[in-house]
Symmetry: C2
Subunit: 148 residues, 2 copies
DNA sequence: GCAAAGTACTTGCATATGAAAGCGATTCGC
DNA sequence: GCGAATCGCTTTCATATGCAAGTACTTTGC
């Protein structure tokens, strides 16, 4: 049923953009970070060894490597992330969250969760949310480097 | 259940971005337009009288009015949209799709639908897709000026 | 009626981002 | 081993976008 799939894809994009737009305002006002900076910290926390190279981050965040370079620089300056070099490969410079970065992530994640639960607020049963979650999980690309 | 909502919101964002990223490549390669230009044309077609003012478009597309001005200019130049002034209010300049614009939308929508049906490809029953669709519909902001 | 406030659009400036080129470092082919 | 190709990162340039100021028009308050 192409038409239903089309409608669903359109709504998916619309809901995601609505949600991100609302989040963006609260994040910059309350936590002083952007949604992308939040997602960067979240990717770090969910990664093995809690660190990622810039190219890995770029792939996971659907942005270019240069964007990661420029996003990480100010975050490093204000102490949210640090860098770790690889003993074996001097080209690799891992981005790693500092304790301040993890604290910032924790606070931001609370805001995120608050808005997420408002988005799904009390409208559906757990069973419905589980089904929804499972469907979304199937739609995520197969690389496995996923946030949720 | 905050945790499940959080997971769902994260997955929602991720799936939407995956989908948009894939679409972006095919759109520019095959149709020579961006995803935002496609959405602009789609908003025009779904609007009453098939036309919208720049501020209306801006609100519906989550972008600023200046972005609409600058998006519409090249689309007007290549003949995808035109402008119509309002008899009553000389400030209003409606954006309206030309026949070429509607043709471009039709072709692009076919690409969109193809990818949408691949995203949901044969994994679920119509009943599940209907449920999914209904849940998304409830999450869309209440303005009613919606694409789907 | 007319000034003040509001509205629709455009433009200037600052920021964010991607593509491509550049630079080191590593790996591959031989 | 050594040159060539590849890889990770940074920088440069071009584009996209938002915000705020500017312009033209309309509505409101009196």
């Amino acid at each position: 049923m192409t038409d239903l799939c089309t409608t669903n894809a359109l709504r998916l994009i619309q809901v995601a953009e609505d949600f991100r737009a609302g989040l963006s305002g609260e994040f910059s006002a309350v936590h002083g970070i952007s949604v992308n900076e939040f997602l960067l910290l979240l990717h770090l926390e969910r990664a093995t060894a809690n660190r990622l190279s810039r190219v890995d981050l770029a792939k996971r965040m659907h942005v270019s490597a240069s964007t990661i370079t420029r996003m990480a620089a100010p975050m490093e300056k204000i102490g949210l992330v640090g860098r770790e070099v690889d003993d074996r490969d001097a080209r690799l410079v891992f981005v790693v969250a500092t304790s301040m970065g993890r604290e910032k992530l924790s606070q931001s994640l609370a805001t995120f969760s608050k808005r997420a639960s408002y988005l799904f607020s009390d409208r559906w049963e757990d069973e419905e949310l589980e089904k929804f979650s499972e469907m979304l999980r199937c739609m995520i690309g197969g690389t496995g480097d996923t946030l949720a």
